[in-house]
Amino acid sequence: MGRTAAECYTAVLGKDMTINWFKYASPSAFYPVAGRLIPWFGAIALVLILASLYVGFFETADHLGGSNPQKEYYRIIFVHVPAAWMSMWLYLVLAGWSAIGLVFNTRLSYMMANALAPTGAIFTFIALWTGAFWGRPSWGTYWDWDPRLTSELILFFLYIGYIALHSAIDDTRRADRAGALLSIVGLVMLPIIFWSINCPDPTQCAALHQRSDPGAIHATILIPMLGMTLGFWSYSFATVFARLRGIILTRESDAAWVRDVIDREARA
């Protein structure tokens, strides 16, 4: 008795329990970790997406009922809303890693921001595309310069702008810093997208997007929507880590550990 939990752990496993998180801030340490995590995130994503699709397609149809034509195409929200959430969330994460990179000057943070951009752009495009396919049957138009649609479109251009700016500058360190600044300035779009609803009270007007209370959404709709969101999130982890590994190898090609990795992968 009298020993701390950490000492017991050290005694039993012969290891120090305190995890040095900064160890994983180095690309060489994170490269294998990311590689091991990819299949797990991929599997979780597959299970969650398939389960949500099943519930969304087969377990919800009769709950809406009536002659409301929306009951036939509302399924689009199971990809539209999760994709829109992911587009904003991934941008927040991208800007967050950019800020950490600017403050601590850590290479891996910039690489993470870099790896996030294409996946974020894809989810933004999916949100816009599925929104158009929802808008045509329900509001009679594929596109309208509604505040939320417009600000989401600008978010898409911000992703494209980040990728274009980064690839336009040859010096990687300057490209990282310029891209980081752009992404942080672009953060203003997130609250704009979030609060850009020109109809605060649905009983007073008809707007494309209305304020809704999550508690009022029927469970058979809310659950596949949340399941799909977690599935997309897990998918993003897998693809971003896969892209990150490529970026690490390319940028660290001078390092000795990359030589070993290449030797091993060439034999595998």
């Binding site: 397609f57 399924r75 990809v79 396919f133 992968e265 060439a266 034999r267």
Partner: protein, 74 residues
């Protein structure tokens, strides 16, 4: 059975919208996965070439002997 499948495909007359939305979503996600797999292969080849150019002797992989052999011929 066949009737329920065709009903499912029909989506109450909104097949184009529903399948257009889901189709684009999963086509893009699968395309991203495919692109990542392809780029991983190209990156391994490209970085491997760079590494062998810089360290022709230290590397022990069989492919590394090729640039060295080219050197002796010259």
């Amino acid at each position: 059975m066949i009737e329920s499948i065709s009903q499912f495909v029909h989506q109450g007359g909104y097949a184009g919208f529903v399948w257009g939305a889901f189709g684009m979503t999963f086509a893009l996600l699968l395309a991203e996965i495919w692109q990542l797999r392809r780029s991983r292969r190209t990156i391994l080849v490209r970085v491997g070439r760079l590494v062998r150019l810089r360290h022709p002797r230290q590397s022990t992989s069989p492919a590394a002997s090729r640039p060295a052999a080219a050197e002796t011929r010259r």
